[in-house]
Amino acid sequence: MIPLNWLLIISGVLFAISVAGMFINRKNLILLLMCVELLLLAVNFNFVAFSRYLNDINGQIFVFFVLTVAAAESAIGLAILVVLFRERRSINVEDLSTLKG
C-alpha cells in the first residue's frame, strides 16, 4: 500500500502550486477561483489520507462537507463574477477599485 508520507507530500506540493498560482494569476478573477478549488482539493487529500491510515471514517465525512461548501462557494462566486462582468466589462481585479481600498 501507499505510505502516508507520500500522500502528505503530494498534497503539500498541490497546495504550494495553487498558492503560487494565486500570485501568478492575481489579475484574473476566474483563475483565482480555480486556484481556490485546487487549494481545497489539496486539503481534502490530507483528510482522506489520515482517515484511511487512522482507520477513522469521520475524516471522509468532513471531505464530504468540504465538497458541499466548495460547490456552493464556486456557484455564488461565479454568479458574482457574471454580474461584475455585466457591470464593468472586465474581470481584472485592479479595475475593482470602487471602494478606494
Binding site: I10, F23, K27, Y53, Q60, I76, A79, V82
Partner: protein, 214 residues
C-alpha cells in the same frame, strides 16, 4: 508494487497538470487542466480505498462545478492579453512562497511521524468492506444534523446565485404574484343567462338576455 507505480504515475500527472493550469495563457485550457487534476485525484483516492469520495469528486466537480466554470469562461469575452500582462512580476514571488510551503511540509512529514508508522501504509480492507455503506451509516446517524445544514446551504446557494444573475429585460413574460392575489371575482367573471329550452317560433328571433352581475 503495482499500486505504488500507479501512485507515482498519477502523482506526476497531477503535479504537471496543476503546474500547467497556473501557467497556460488561455482560461479555457486552465479549466480543462483543472478537470484533469480532479480526475487524477479521484484515481489516487481510489488507490487508497476511498471509493465513495472518488466517485463524488468526479460527479460533483468534473460533472457540475467545472462545467459551470467552462460556461462562465466561454460566456465572458475576456481579453486574455490584457489580463495576463505583467505576469512575470509576481511569478518570482509566488515561486518563492510555494517553495517555502513545500519545504515546510516536507520537513514536517520527514521528521515527525505523528506516532504512526508512516512508511508502511494501511492494511488493505477485506473484500466485504463497503466504503459507501460505512459512510452512509455515519452520515445518517451521527452527522444527520450537519447533513441537513449542508442541504440548507446548497438551497441558499441556489437562491443566491439565481437572484444575483437574474435581470429585468423588456418583453420578459413573468408573474406578478401580488396582482394575481389581489384580483376579484368581479374583474374576471361575467354571468350570461342562457335559456335552457329554446322557445319554438316567436322567441327564436330574440337573442338571449345578458346580465352582468354587480
Amino acid at each position: 508494487m503495482l499500486v505504488e507505480v500507479l501512485f507515482w504515475i498519477f502523482a506526476s500527472i497531477l503535479a504537471v497538470s496543476a503546474l500547467a493550469m497556473i501557467t497556460v495563457r488561455n482560461p479555457v485550457h486552465s479549466a480543462l487542466l483543472l478537470v484533469l487534476c480532479f480526475f487524477t485525484s479521484a484515481a489516487i483516492w481510489l488507490l487508497i480505498e476511498a471509493e465513495f469520495l472518488a466517485v463524488v469528486l468526479i460527479l460533483v466537480y468534473v460533472g457540475a462545478v467545472m462545467v459551470l466554470f467552462l460556461f462562465v469562461v466561454m460566456m465572458l469575452d475576456i481579453n486574455i492579453e490584457e489580463v495576463r500582462a505583467r505576469v512575470t512580476r509576481y511569478a518570482l514571488f509566488g515561486g518563492v512562497v510555494a517553495g517555502v510551503v513545500v519545504f515546510e511540509i516536507v520537513s514536517v512529514v520527514w521528521t515527525r511521524s505523528l506516532g504512526l508508522d508512516v512508511t508502511t501504509g494501511a492494511q488493505p480492507q477485506p473484500a466485504s468492506y463497503s466504503n459507501t455503506a460505512e459512510l452512509g451509516k455515519l452520515l445518517y446517524t451521527d452527522y444527520v444534523y450537519p447533513f441537513e445544514l449542508a442541504a440548507v446551504l446548497l438551497l441558499i446557494a441556489i437562491v443566491a446565485s439565481i437572484s444575483l444573475t437574474m435581470r429585468k429585460r423588456a418583453g420578459l413574460k413573468q408573474q406578478d404574484v401580488a396582482k394575481q392575489v389581489a384580483v376579484r371575482r368581479e374583474d374576471r367573471v361575467r354571468i350570461v343567462k342562457v335559456p335552457a329550452v329554446r322557445e319554438p317560433a316567436s322567441a327564436a328571433a330574440a337573442p338571449p338576455t345578458e346580465e352582468k352581475k354587480p
